[in-house]
Symmetry: C2
Subunit: 404 residues, 2 copies
């Protein structure tokens, strides 16, 4: 995880052992919350038992970890006292400014979603000031809700549909919002410094089980376009500029239909929302279509009604998507794909095709069969992932929280 405001470009800076070990101990507690003892941490990290105890004590007095009583053990010996993350300590605020809705949520240290509020509104009909005002209002409400729930917001993160400059906390370009070079995090409450990232990237962090396990996977985030978040060893891979995961314009067929990007046969032209609509024979109606949800629901309805054209369109989209993803898996040697965004809602028809394509085209399949999973969260995924990224920064550097 990115270390917040600390510009850790590479590991060229001196190391602070205490901070590193506090994070290490906390991470082990997070990965086995309620099932781990001081002695376990010592054994797993290689630290001495006394050192592990000292670290845990500091985390307990700091309000990040609690004891959950003694655990009955089968073996002989003194029973261990189990440790768990506190659910009433620091919490993260996540905001998602999408084209057709704005979402906020609060996630506590355990990763649980404690507050969630989604407002469906087409941003394209509003000015930038109105949008920012709405973010501010929703954030303050979330802030109040967190406080009422005995949580302390210790950071925030905003997901936007576009290109961001994380270091400058600025939205470089968000075409669908009409934003350019906008320091959007400034509208957040002053006491929570704001992180910023792409929706697909934050959405990739929303999966509950995967992050703790230091998993590597591709989170496919289908919206109007098709993007992906790349998680390697439990950390989001952002690329050299932060634009990683642009799979929507991978070429499926050099002689395929033209794409607004200037090329031909891009993945979006086969597996994007518009393409599926068109292939299903639904007249595209940008006037009334209020964005992702309703359109996707429409397709799903027709598929459930066994409309032949729709089913054929979904099968075709799944095949093309699966073939493209198989290529990505081959390039990166990943064995796991998560289908998010519209593909989550269309999973009954898309997922089997993706699974088949990936299973047959992944070169490592004979040794390690790749898995295809449906995302846990739908439209809330980016906001939840954003909030979770704040929590990950706390786990990555607990000292910042411990020092007030």
């Amino acid at each position: 995880m990115h270390a917040g405001t600390v510009r850790r470009r590479h590991d060229t800076t001196a190391v602070n052992p205490r901070a590193t070990h506090l994070s290490l101990a906390l991470r082990h507690v997070a990965e086995a919350s309620g099932q781990i003892s001081r002695a376990d941490i010592a054994a797993r990290t290689g630290l001495n038992r006394s050192t592990a105890s000292s670290l845990i004590d500091e985390l307990i007095t700091g309000g990040l970890v609690k004891e959950t009583g003694a655990t009955p053990r089968a073996r002989a010996g003194r029973p261990a006292t189990a440790l768990a993350l506190r659910d009433d300590g620091p919490a993260g605020l996540g905001v998602d400014v999408n084209v057709d809705y704005t979402a906020v949520c609060v996630v506590d240290l355990t990763g649980a979603v404690r507050y969630k509020h989604v407002v469906a509104v087409d941003q394209r009909g509003h000015t930038m000031t109105e949008i920012l005002d709405r973010i501010n209002t929703l954030s303050r409400a979330a802030h109040a809700a967190a406080r009422a729930d005995e949580l302390t917001l210790c950071g925030s993160a905003i997901a936007v549909p576009g290109i961001v400059d994380r270091d400058r906390a600025t939205v470089t370009l968000a075409p669908n919002l009409g934003w350019r070079d906008l320091a959007v995090t400034e509208v957040l409450p002053a006491d929570v410094h704001g992180l910023l990232d792409n929706e697909a990237n934050f959405a990739a962090l929303s999966e509950p089980g995967l992050l703790h396990a230091r998993a590597s996977y591709l989170y496919v985030s289908g919206q109007i376009g098709v993007g992906a978040g790349i998680v390697l060893d439990g950390r989001l891979y952002r690329g050299t500029h932060g634009w990683s995961g642009e799979i929507g314009h991978l070429t499926v067929d050099r002689d395929g239909p033209p794409c607004p990007c200037g090329r031909r046969g891009c993945l979006e032209r086969y597996a994007g929302q518009e393409a599926i609509l068109r292939a299903a024979g639904v007249p595209s109606d940008p006037g009334t279509a209020l964005g992702v949800r309703p359109t996707v629901a429409l397709i799903a309805d027709r598929a459930r009604a066994n409309d032949p054209a729709t089913l054929a369109a979904l099968t075709r989209a799944g095949q093309v998507l699966g073939a493209t993803l198989a290529g990505c898996l081959n390039l990166l040697d990943l064995g796991h794909v998560v289908l998010g965004g519209i593909y989550r809602d269309l999973a009954p028809w898309i997922a089997p095709e993706v699974e088949r394509e990936v299973a047959t085209q992944f070169l490592g399949a004979p040794w390690a069969r790749p898995t295809v999973e449906v995302a846990t969260y739908g439209p809330e995924a980016p906001a939840i992932g954003a909030a979770r990224s704040v929590i990950h920064d706390v786990i990555g550097d607990p000292l910042r929280w411990l020092n007030h």
Copy 2:
């Protein structure tokens, strides 16, 4: 860089500050060898001057770093004493077992190639024992040459064309050598523990300038197949199983010509050596073709003679390769490609096409124009990269060398 035999799966182990800081100081010396002082290191790392001095002293007495006299400075103040890597300290042994040649080389701490020996021989005509014997003989010769040059071999690495299990130091499968589950590193001299990896991966590490700069790039290694080594932030990305970089079977055209892998229209069918040969109208002659070098030289000859069919084949191959690479760059947000293997020899005809495709298809091109570079080394690249990986392990953990 991988920490050798130490199974550092993730950063779940305790940190040793002294070891980390020794590596940190050494890395800074390596990146600016001859142009850096103790005070510089202190400034760049954030360590105290006295600490930096202590670290450097330890590295000097350990034989890794030397002083190269005072540097005249423009500014006022005491002139700094420049530090540089020693070229007579530890060295790495690199071995490459290819289908049609075996190469060994020795690289010193500065990255300079101090010994190199390539034996052209078609391994397919020999038994496994013969091949292993040759590796052993060549390694002993390299060992003797290093000793005569006042170098101390402190490790070795073998590159093989196939799938390896690094943790077990075993070749899982090398079809063209007929190997399966072979612990090839055991034939190396006993005092150098052997690393193991794929040829494309090691070749990616052979580029001189790029590694020190913590660069991110894709090293395309065209041989009979097409592979790639992925370097992210100066570290080789190997994937979850170590099979990353398999771009040869990315789909270019779903309705293209069939491929032995069972799919259709794979990249190899357009930009692989065999495909270029066939498209150029050269009768494929596996009987006399002694592998990569001669065949590629043949194509290059015909291209130099302006043979229309060959030029068209190369143009087509470059276009398809470039388009595929652009997709990879978009997925990973990389801005740099290095053309190695056969593409290095065919660069005059391939590189411009790749450059054009990448420039037009890389989505970040308007903000950061991608660069296409021709590899520094040819067939020796895997062996040199292998040796260099040994050196990188020394720089990554100098304590192991300092403790004898």
